[in-house]
Structures are given as structure tokens and as C-alpha cells.
Amino acid sequence: MTAERPVSLSLLGLFAAMPVTAVASILHRITGIVLFAGALYLCYLLDLALGDQGGFARAAVVLATPAGKLALWAILAALGYHLLAGVKHLLLDFHVGDTLTGARFASWVSIVLAVLAAVAAAFWLW
């Protein structure tokens, strides 16, 4: 009987009512996945650039293409947020920001700072 019962998990409705702390958390996870995938790209660039002069030049060419640059930016942006959210998490482990107001504040701070960092990264890259 239990197995046939439906479950109400209207993610759409729940997302609409998602508090900022939950947004901060899911972003942490998403940026983590981006970084996990992006690591391959970084390995590839590192391999090229640390090889010979030719390799370095090729890496520069890859990075000069819009797609190559965008990918790097995405990684940097993700890194920025993941790092800030990580700091927030670490603080939480030391019981800093473990109230609802504290956590809301910390979530907003990390999101805003990460956006600023992503903008700065864009300026730096372009």
C-alpha cells in the first residue's frame, strides 16, 4: 500500500517559496559541480601551458576564443561563490551565523560578494 502512495514534492512551488539560505545552499552545490567539470579544462590548459613554447601559445589561443574565455570565467565565478559559501559553512561549523537572521545575512553577503567577484573576473578577463 505504502509503495503506491503519491508524494507531494512540487519542486516548482517549493522553489518559488525558497528562502535565501536554501538558494545559497543549492548554489554551493551547483558551483561545486561546475568546478568538478571545469577541473578537466584547467588540467588541459595547465598541461598545454607548462609544456613547450608552442603549447603555451596554443593555450593562449584557446583562451582568446570567446568560448574558451567564457569557460574560464564561468570557472572563476563558480570558484568565487564556492569559496565564499565554503567560508560561510566553516563559520557555521564554529557556530557563527547559526541563527535564522545570521544565516540569512551570511547568505546574502556571500551571494552579493560572489556576484561582485564574478564581475571583477569578467573585467579582468576581457
Partner: protein, 123 residues
């Protein structure tokens, strides 16, 4: 008590500590490398090789790569055991979960061996 052979460490506590420690290492490494690129006026091949080829940085890179392995595996394992569920994947969900984990392990291997061979390989 819930036991799980696929968890990285012997316990949730160990995983938790490892994830925090590795996070700190990775953060420091990321800031260090970023700092190099941001502060350098222009980066050419020689400067780059000089930076990554120095012994302290080789050791740091090695530490970072190992941290990445631990950090990423714990994170990706958690994600897998969250979302790859019977509810979405049916009876074969354990098969999917196994496949997912094999892919993650393979990627982690690449992320360890490739950078290490790059920084340690030619010297």
C-alpha cells in the same frame, strides 16, 4: 547506525573533517595561483614554468591535487546518494548509482594523475 562502504572515510565525522581541511588547502592554493596571475604584468611561458616548477609550488600543487581528490569525491558521492534514488530511477537505481560513482572515481583519478605528471614529469 547507517554504514556505507562507499563513503570515502571510515565515518561521517572523518569525511566531514577531511572535507573542511581539504577545503582550506584548496582555498589557499586557489588564492595563491590567482594571485600569481593577477599580480604578474604579463605571463609568458618562462614565468609560468618558473612559477609552477619551483619546489615549494610543486609540493603545494601536489597537496592541492590530493585535497581536490578528497574534497571532490566526498562532495560528488554526497550528490549521488542524494539524487540517484529509487524514486526517479526505479529498480535499477543502484546500477545507476554505481555507474555514476565509477565515472566520478575515474575523473578523480584523472584530476590527480594528470596535474601531477605535468608538474613533476619534465624535471
Amino acid at each position: 547506525m547507517v554504514t556505507s562502504v562507499t563513503s570515502f572515510g571510515r565515518s561521517g565525522l572523518a569525511d566531514w573533517v577531511l572535507q573542511r581541511v581539504s577545503a582550506v588547502v584548496l582555498a589557499a592554493y586557489a588564492l595563491c595561483v590567482l594571485g600569481f596571475f593577477v599580480t604578474a604584468d604579463s605571463v609568458d611561458h618562462t614565468k609560468l614554468v618558473g612559477f609552477f616548477g619551483s619546489l615549494p609550488l610543486k609540493l603545494f600543487t601536489t597537496l592541492a591535487v590530493l585535497s581536490l581528490a578528497a574534497h571532490a569525491w566526498i562532495g560528488m558521492w554526497t550528490i549521488g546518494t542524494d539524487y540517484v534514488r529509487r524514486h526517479y530511477f526505479g529498480r535499477a537505481h543502484t546500477l545507476f548509482l554505481a555507474a555514476y560513482q565509477v565515472v566520478c572515481v575515474a575523473a578523480v583519478f584523472v584530476y590527480v594523475l594528470w596535474p601531477l605528471s605535468v608538474v613533476w614529469g619534465d624535471t
